[in-house]
């Protein structure tokens, strides 16, 4: 489904702020797999998702998606295959437009937008049913502006929008990080439901060790722009939050070791 080969990306190359965000990532996702991505801040998790989505072009490497080489495709063209939910609840919905209009926009993802009505009457019935399935009581507020909703409600709607046209690949970028615990739980439950129901190939970044161990059938841990660990199958199912924290601790110690070694060398030679 998704096949990333040796993708690399450097931001602000050649300046003092140079960041080597991705340093040769290989990643292959089978159709229907649900992959969790974890890693410390700056490890390249979100950059990986953005590279796949086409927010920027990678410096080297290739990305294949649903049988196409999409490496040189702009973001809006890749959107044919990709559904996305962002970390910021404001990013995935248009605040000044109504719930119904937002969903109508999502229903045309990857299709030509012509001069037929965006909201024909027969579409409203479908809308109402789908919005009711969120269990948030929004089905009677279809004409309200999205801006009047809470972050949790907006994120639930963004999830519905991202999966309205069944995507080949669903990208969830810490989509519950900005929510209160109760809304986060609700959005996670909805995500699980839709992913299981439509057997969506999913790549989900999270900071929550609890989500990382409870969800998905595969987990990759990133470190300094590379994939450090890749847990699959039974190994993934056995993982506990403590195991992941232990791995992070390992990484931290390695970093400290690097630093103290560097300090020692500096004292000796500089």
């Amino acid at each position: 489904m998704l096949e990333a080969r040796a993708i690399a990306k450097t931001f602000h190359g050649g300046t003092a702020n140079e960041v080597r965000a991705l340093r040769g990532v290989d990643l292959e996702l089978e159709a229907g797999s649900f992959v969790i991505v974890i890693g410390m801040n700056g490890s390249g998790k979100s950059t990986l998702l953005n590279a796949v989505a086409g927010t920027f072009f990678v410096d080297s490497g290739t990305i294949r998606l649903a049988g196409h080489d999409v490496t040189g495709w702009p973001e809006h063209k890749r959107a044919r295959f990709i559904g996305r939910v962002f970390q910021n609840p404001f990013s995935g919905t248009a605040a000044d437009m109504s719930i119904a209009e937002n969903l109508a926009l999502a229903a045309r993802r990857g299709k030509v937008r012509g001069l037929s009505w965006a909201l024909p009457r027969r579409f409203r019935g479908t809308l109402q049913e789908c919005v009711r399935s969120l269990g948030m009581g929004l089905e009677d507020r279809l004409d309200n502006a999205i801006g009047s909703l809470s972050g949790g409600q907006r994120q639930a709607l963004t999830l519905l929008m991202a999966t309205w046209v069944k995507p080949e690949l669903l990208l969830l970028d810490e989509h519950t990080a900005a929510l209160d615990p109760k809304s986060a739980e609700q959005v996670i439950r909805l995500s699980e439901e839709v992913i299981a129901r439509d057997r969506l190939t999913t790549l989900m970044v999270t900071h929550s060790m609890q989500q990382a161990t409870a969800l998905g059938d595969r987990l990759i841990m990133m470190y300094q722009g590379r994939v450090l660990h890749d847990f699959r199958g039974a190994e993934k199912q056995r993982l506990r939050p403590e195991d992941l924290l232990a791995r992070f601790e390992e990484v931290r110690r390695t970093e400290q070791l690097d630093e103290s070694a560097a300090n020692m060398l500096r004292r000796m030679y500089v």
Partner: protein, 310 residues
């Protein structure tokens, strides 16, 4: 009376400009200065074609198309070459000044002796009523003025309705949300750059149409006629929004038209009362400044007062 009818007619014609400004400034949140050049290019194109004997409706449409091309050009400069939006408009507007002089061959084209939509209206009126003037409530009103006003009303209703319906199609909805949240629209597969180019073409097409109609109504096209038109359009949009509100899409379209007419009437009354025409643009600019700043200032005062009470 004829002063009021004239103000109504010009207000209606300029409401097309207000609708254009509404699309670029409000829908796309794009500060599009092209407007000042595209109203003139619309007027110039129509005027030259009229003098050459092209039928008035065709010449008018050509004016709109010329405006649309100017708008698309600004969009291309911004999206394909990455030039700042405001600067893109300024570049196109500046270039248009020379282009307009080239189109017209001189700085002013009079349209007094050529058939225009205004003379068409006059002929239509003569055929309908058979007289030069009619009496409404004891005022005598030239048939030409009455019919021009009527034609303007019909034109604006038609265009306003079409615009409203367009904004509710898939394409129109995508256009509105591109201005609202372009990140989301890219994720939903929309080429937001092309959407902006299309939107600016639509906006400046309306402005060009407004220019073409204005030239025919006032009987000349002039290379200077675009100066201050952005602020004029903004003032209309702001007045309309204050009057009608922005809760619904239909309101917003009506607001731009009503704002334009009301603003023109206010100006006509002020000029009649002795305001110097030279001061008009200063006062318009001052008005827009106040309309932009006052709502926030009032809000600031209120919350400051609230804090004292608390």
């Amino acid at each position: 009376m004829s002063l009021l009818v004239g103000a109504w007619t010009v207000g209606l014609i300029l409401s097309l400009l207000a609708l254009g400004v509404f699309i670029s400034f409000r829908v796309f949140k794009f500060p599009d200065i092209t407007t000042e050049g595209s109203i003139t290019v619309g007027a110039a194109t129509a005027a030259v074609l009229l003098v050459k004997g092209v039928p008035a409706p065709l010449a008018t449409i050509a004016g709109a198309v010329a405006g649309a091309i100017a708008g698309a050009l600004t969009g291309v400069l911004h999206t394909k070459f990455g030039i700042n939006g405001l600067l893109s408009g300024i570049i196109v507007m500046t270039a248009l000044y020379s282009v307009n002089l080239r189109i017209m061959g001189q700085s002013n084209i009079p349209l007094l002796n050529v058939p225009t939509l205004a003379t068409d209206a006059e002929h239509l009126g003569r055929a309908l009523f058979g007289v030069e003037s009619i009496a409404i409530l004891s005022w005598s009103l030239a048939v030409r003025d009455a019919l021009t006003l009527l034609l303007s009303v019909v034109t604006i209703v038609l265009i306003g309705t079409s615009l409203y319906l367009f904004l509710r199609t898939h394409l129109g909805t995508a256009m509105r949300s591109t201005g609202d949240n372009d990140q989301m629209m890219r994720a939903l597969g929309v080429n937001v750059g092309n959407m902006l180019i299309l939107g600016l073409a639509l906006a400046n097409g309306l402005v060009g149409l407004s220019g073409a109609l204005l030239a025919q109504y006032q009987g000349f096209a002039d290379v200077q006629m675009g100066i201050g038109m952005v602020v004029w359009g903004l003032a209309s949009v702001i007045i309309g929004e204050a009057l009608v509100g922005t809760q619904q899409l239909g309101y917003v379209v009506v607001a731009a038209v009503m704002g334009s007419v009301l603003f023109r009437l206010l100006v006509a009354v002020a000029l009649r009362a002795g305001l110097s025409p030279n001061d008009l643009k200063l006062i318009t600019a001052g008005f827009v400044f106040a309309a932009l700043v006052l709502p926030n200032a009032v809000k600031g005062l209120r919350s400051a007062g609230g804090r004292q009470h608390a």
